[in-house]
Amino acid sequence: MLDRTQDTLLQIEDLHAWYGESHILHGVTFHVKTGEVVTLLGRNGAGKTTTLKSIMGIVGKRTGSVKFEARELINLTSDTIARAGLAFCPEERGIFASLDVEENLMLPPQVRPGGLTREQIFELFPNLRERLRSQGTKLSGGEQQMLAIGRILRTGARLLLLDEPTEGLAPVIIQQIGNTIRKLKEQGFTILLVEQNFRFASTVADRYYIMEHGKVVEQFANTELDKKLETLHEYLGV
């Protein structure tokens, strides 16, 4: 890529991944710079979620290179990867039923100094403060998504991997998630977002990569969006 400058936070090269026998990623290459919001777009099954999971080390077998702050992560276990300063918010949100909201919020350990305080998280998501004693899975879908994002902000991780944070949510909640992502960007978080909802992504992202058949097939910046709409239609059918 052309703009591989010094402040590249995450550099992924020729990433392959397998679930059992099936080869899902066929050489994914892209990068994320410090402070950017980058979105992976693509149809269902293109390999977007698998890319996030491969970065986090929760896919059976993977090869290639995943460098975070110039440190190679490809052979590390997922707990070591998390401690390097990455945090993952899964598509299914992963709220624990046997934990109350507060326990869910406090579960991920701090991996670095500089995470948000509880108060800062409650400022972003006031609903959570009211529900601290509720069972995690008794929250509404939107509140669960806020909890899932909120709990990884405490850890001090600077790179957030968010897998379809708007899926299944009401428009007003989607707007709130969008505001949150913009605030997090202002605070210096770097975000790698997987989205099906292109309209939502276009309100928060700096750059896009389009994936198809386990590869990155196209990339463009938010400023090139108008020129690329036709390409997008072609790839995404939107």
Binding site: G57, P90, E103, P109
Partner: protein, 291 residues
């Protein structure tokens, strides 16, 4: 029917003591099953090893009951950790049946080795001098040691419940039981947690073994006799439920005691009859969540 109160209370007391052991052992099984997905059939052998550890500590190191109460769970739990690293860790992705078969095999080997060396007649272990004697409760006599067993196992059960349900460490355990992959992706070393959990569950069995040593003789088959009943207790309470294991353990001990008084012929089978009824009406157990 006339009720002979002293005899009734006597049986209730025996029931509570048996219940103490049922609760401690099924608690360990529940903790292990929750985290490892392994039905630890070696639990009875590990309970027996706890009793033997107490015996060895006294014979060869001169360390008394109180030392054994601390050291035996650590030693046998440590052996458990070796077993987990060497064998069990390879089975987590397989069906429950493999873990059950492996631990069952281990139990047979361990029991066989002890029987070969120590025979099956049993070795004596004295009640610690601080706990000898009997208390007159008016309606019945309560040996001090048995009162201690009931109180101490209640305390251990409650402590374990508190640790799992109310502390941060317990939150890790509960979360890792639900979704180990995600908990690990938060930066927590889940495999190490699993190893320590197995060590802890085995340690609980060994602790029960130490407590049993002065009541029942130290015997290679003491665990094999008990574990069958304990598995029935676990099935009735529901696999993986902490409170369920404790309440069911004590409760069934009492039920068994009452049966001994009212209908002694059924006292050996009552728990299994209850198990059948529970399996038919609530297959997940009284406290279990349906899978």
């Amino acid at each position: 029917m006339e009720i002979n109160l002293p005899a009734l209370f006597g049986q209730l007391l025996i029931g509570l003591i048996n219940g103490s052991f049922y609760a401690l052992l099924s608690l360990g099984l529940a903790v292990i099953f929750g985290m490892l997905n392994i039905i630890n059939f070696a639990h009875g052998a590990q309970y027996m090893m706890g009793a033997f550890a107490a015996y060895f500590l006294l014979q060869f190191a001169g360390l008394n009951y109180w030392w054994a109460l601390v050291l035996a769970p650590v030693i046998v739990g440590g052996i458990g950790i070796v077993i987990e690293r060497a064998f069990l860790q390879w089975l987590y992705k397989l069906d429950h049946l493999y873990g059950l078969l492996l631990t069952f095999g281990l139990a047979l080997i361990i029991q066989g080795l002890f029987r070969h060396r120590y025979g099956s007649s049993g070795l004596p272990y004295q009640i610690p001098p601080q706990l000898t004697g009997v208390r007159d409760l008016g309606f019945t006599f309560l040996p001090n040691y048995r009162a201690w067993v009931i109180v101490f196992s209640l305390a251990v059960c409650f402590g374990t419940w508190f640790m799992i349900e109310k502390t941060r460490l317990g939150a890790y355990l509960r979360a890792a039981t639900e979704n180990p992959t995600l908990v690990r992706a938060f930066g927590i070393n889940v495999p190490r947690m699993i190893t320590l959990t197995y060590g802890f569950g085995v340690g609980l069995a060994a602790l029960a073994g130490v407590m049993a040593a002065p009541i029942y003789a130290v015997n290679p088959t003491m665990g094999a006799d008990l574990i069958i009943v304990v598995f029935a207790v676990v099935v009735i309470g529901g696999m993986g439920s902490i409170m369920g294991a404790i309440v069911t353990g004590f409760g069934l001990g009492v039920v068994e005691g009452l049966t001994k008084y009212f209908f002694p012929e059924a006292s050996n089978t009552v728990i299994f009859v209850i198990m059948v009824i529970v399996l038919v009406t609530r297959p997940a157990g009284l406290f279990g969540r349906a899978a």
